[in-house]
Amino acid sequence: QKEVEQDPGPLSVPEGAIVSLNCTYSNSAFQYFMWYRQYSRKGPELLMYTYSSGNKEDGRFTAQVDKSSKYISLFIRDSQPSDSATYLCAMIPFIGGYNKLIFGAGTRLAVHP
């Protein structure tokens, strides 16, 4: 079993839809959770970063963490064609512990006009 599971998609939605992207993990040592967006032929860029269980909102994006269920989500409201990319969840056991960073396989999202 992988430490982080993420549905690879692809996920295709119409413009304006609410998108839900999810990851589950098995290692309770993970404390910091991130979502990266990766456009084609580009490196990943950090979208959201959360520590505690609960919700964190940034514009159209909301990151949700449920540590008791070992489940994290990223919601995108009013999705736009420019949101079409691969979304990767990632987690580390402590701040700055990037040598311990575990990524999900990524979910490909396509938002069509």
Binding site: R41, G43, Y49, L88, I95, N99
Partner: protein, 114 residues
């Protein structure tokens, strides 16, 4: 401010050859991380360099090696290439100390082994 740069963009090699990939971190960043992104597998941690020293390596064979130069740029070498080494190789940098929530990725080098 210039971002993380990587070269070459694409690299095509044959089995058994050696590949050298290069990374220049953001100015002022001293830590460089290398990742392999194979199709369907997500990013896998390869190597971590900080202040010129190798600090940690992931679960990869010794034919994956590298170094960090005094200007903090880094090189990843892959010897005795195998078909399954075909992947996107990403480098990321973080500021001195590494205790930060953000690492900055370069665009990657796509290595194809024939």
């Amino acid at each position: 401010e210039a971002g993380v740069t990587q070269s070459p963009t694409h690299l095509i090699k044959t089995r058994g050859q050696q590949a050298t990939l290069r990374c220049s971190p953001i100015s002022g960043h001293t830590s460089v991380y290398w990742y392999q992104q194979a199709l369907g597998l997500g990013l896998q941690f390869l190597l971590w360099y900080d202040e010129g020293e190798e600090r940690n390596r992931g679960n990869f064979p010794p034919r994956f090696s590298g170094r960090q130069f005094p200007n903090y740029s880094s090189e990843l070498n892959v010897n005795a290439l195998e078909l399954e080494d075909s992947a996107l190789y990403l480098c990321a940098s973080v500021p001195q100390g590494g205790g930060t929530d953000t690492q900055y990725f370069g665009p990657g080098t796509r290595l194809t082994v024939l």
